[in-house]
Amino acid sequence: MAADLNAYLLVGAVLFVCGVVCMATKRNGIGVLMGVELVLNGANVNFVAFSRYTDLGLDGQVFSLFVIVLAAAEAAVALAIALNFYNNHLTIDVDRANKLKG
């Protein structure tokens, strides 16, 4: 039993790390948002695995359903903001967002 849980947690951890690396290294704004999605889905894998193997029960599955909905909402707003940035700067390279500093 425990070994199975660990396998799922490993998948979740790999997704999480991939997402964090993606957020840190991508210069394209959309790429960064893809990294965020990977992190959220890594957490989702954890939730579903925990709900199957520990006494977290259905709470974990409900949690992951909420996360899927919230991720969609967040992605919608983030893409709208990225589009607005593109309209003003004609690029979505996050390194070009450097006018505000100090």
Partner: protein, 536 residues
């Protein structure tokens, strides 16, 4: 359980919970009203700011009613509503009232300065009200699910509000930075929640402490125990998300950029309201974890770590504010520093609640939360006052640089006097509210020093930073009062008998009152803190 039984118990639960959810329902109804008015074209006849004012007024009134009802001695001090997802006690009602009042003041400010133009105002107010509901959920969360939903419900409208001035380059850049960092922090926090909930086997925050004890029972109780280690990792990742919302160092970098790009009204809203909600959540989360036998030393070290972060945050915020020439950016760094002061109270609470004589120190624990709650109220008035003055002056000078405020005293003395009161209160000068708030927080941190020596260091840093902060606030005041107004500067003719002046004067009067008569508000804050302790 039979299906009908399940449905019946759900119906009973919901009907009992809904009256206690009145403030949030009122705000939700106002949002629906905005959208319907948009659909039917009624928003051309009735200005949206009028609807928003009425909605916020009703919400404030309802929150006041709830507070009154809970103050009744016979009332049950703390009730779990919606099958235990939220908790209804004086603490959450205090935050509800606070946020509803702040919403009302923000709506008043936006209708004075007219930052969302007539076309956009229904959308803007929908976002504003939605974010406020999210903050109220944060302050009354009793489940890790509500913790996450509250934070997201606050963040997503905030991203859109920061980028609301669509055609302006700084605004779009600020929104992009805020959304990228914010979404990243939320993802990291969610991973932490999954670890904590999975290891402890529950998402109910009132059961976390007991489960922590169970997890610690088998092992050494320290970080060598794999279960506790995973739980601690989860707690730390959740703290990353909260620290981002509170703009604590090292997760503060979004704050100056977002504030500089956003309009001053939105920056004022974010600097007070989203911090307040996050503090409510931080207190609830920390209290739900503390007091578990077997994990005291772990939790004390978390408290000390929080105190360390508070020291770094205040010092960094105050030092970085020195070189700023943009007033909004300067106030953003001041916001970071103030978040640090307020975290000191939470650190003191965490250290005391996990100390050896936690039971006998209940009064002191309540005092530290009281200090935080009092400071938040003072902070509402003084920070909103400063941002409001920037917004009002901007409408005349079209600039938020410090230079455009040079010699303002010769043209609009009301604004300058208002700024003087707000800034002296932000420093923590005696006759103003900021002094009392700081005194409460430093006193409780000093009391916590008896448990762990590091809290004495925290108090020393707090006192030192008060001196640091004096310099840059005085620099702003000197520019406004002592220098001559340049001949080519745009005039700022704000007369005493105008709505703008009335707004600033109202805020300034409250800052003064909170400094002169602290016992009025501090008793209320203490009652709210006590309801938390009963809950524990």
């Amino acid at each position: 359980m039979l299906f009908t039984e399940l449905i019946n118990s759900l119906i009973t639960d919901t009907t009992q919970s809904l009256p206690r959810f009145g403030v949030e329902l009122c705000l939700s109804a106002t949002i629906v009203l905005f959208l319907l008015m948009r659909l039917t074209g009624l928003d051309r006849l009735i200005p949206a700011c009028l609807t928003a004012t009425i909605g916020a007024l009703v919400a404030t009134f309802l929150a006041y009613k709830q507070f009154d009802a809970l103050h009744d001695l016979n009332a049950v001090p703390s009730v779990k509503i919606f099958t235990g997802l939220l908790v209804h006690d004086l603490f959450s009602v205090y935050f509800r009232g606070f946020l509803a009042l702040f919403l009302l003041l923000t709506v008043a400010l936006t209708s004075l300065t007219g930052i969302p133009d007539e076309d956009d105002s229904p959308d803007f107010y929908s976002l504003l009200f939605g974010a406020t509901i999210g903050m109220m959920l944060m302050a009354s969360a009793n489940n890790l699910l509500m913790l996450f939903i509250g934070i997201e419900m606050t963040s997503v409208p905030s991203y859109a509000m920061v980028g609301f001035l669509k055609g302006r380059k700084p605004s779009s850049e600020a929104a992009l930075k805020y959304v990228v960092y914010g979404a990243g922090a939320a993802g990291v926090m969610l991973y932490g929640i999954s670890l904590l909930a999975g290891v402890l086997g529950t998402t109910d925050m009132s059961m976390l402490a007991a489960r922590m004890t169970e997890a610690a029972a088998g092992g050494s109780g320290g970080l060598n125990d794999p279960e506790l280690r995973t739980a601690s990792l989860g707690i730390m990742l959740i703290m990353v998300g909260l620290a981002f919302k509170l703009s604590l160092v090292p997760f503060h970098f979004w704050c100056p950029d977002a504030f500089e790009g956003a309009s001053a009204e939105v920056a004022g809203f974010l600097s007070v309201a989203s911090k307040a909600g996050a503090f409510g959540l931080l207190v609830r989360f920390c209290l739900s974890l503390s007091g578990a036998p077997g994990t005291e030393s772990l939790m004390t070290s978390f408290g000390v770590g929080l105190g360390f972060i508070a020291c770094i945050t205040t010092t960094f915020g105050n030092l970085a504010a020195y070189t700023q020439t943009n007033l909004k950016r300067l106030l953003a760094y001041s916001t970071i520093a103030h978040a640090g002061y307020m975290v000191m109270a939470v650190a003191a609470m965490l250290v005391m609640a996990n100390g050896p004589q936690a039971a006998s120190m209940q009064v002191d624990i309540n005092r530290s939360i009281e200090g935080l709650l009092y400071y938040l109220v003072v902070y509402l008035f003084m920070n909103l006052g400063a941002f409001a003055i920037i917004a009002i002056a901007r409408n005349y000078t079209f600039s938020e640089e410090l230079d455009s405020f040079r010699g303002l005293i010769s043209q609009s003395p009301t604004l300058c006097i208002g700024m003087l009161i707000c800034m002296f209160s932000l420093v923590g000068m005696p006759p103003f509210g900021g002094f009392v708030g700081k005194l409460f927080i430093f006193a409780s941190a000093f009391r916590a020093g008896q448990i762990h020596w590091f809290m004495y260091v925290v108090v020393a840093f707090g006192a030192l930073n008060t001196v640091f902060s004096l310099v840059y606030y005085i620099r702003v005041l000197r520019t406004m009062f002592m220098e001559a107004r340049p001949a080519d500067a745009r005039p700022v003719p704000v007369r005493l008998a105008s709505w703008e002046s009335a707004f600033v004067v109202t805020l300034a009067v409250f800052v003064l009152l909170l400094g002169i008569l602290p016992h009025m508000m501090s008793q209320t804050a203490n009652d709210a803190a006590q309801s938390l302790a009963i809950f524990r």
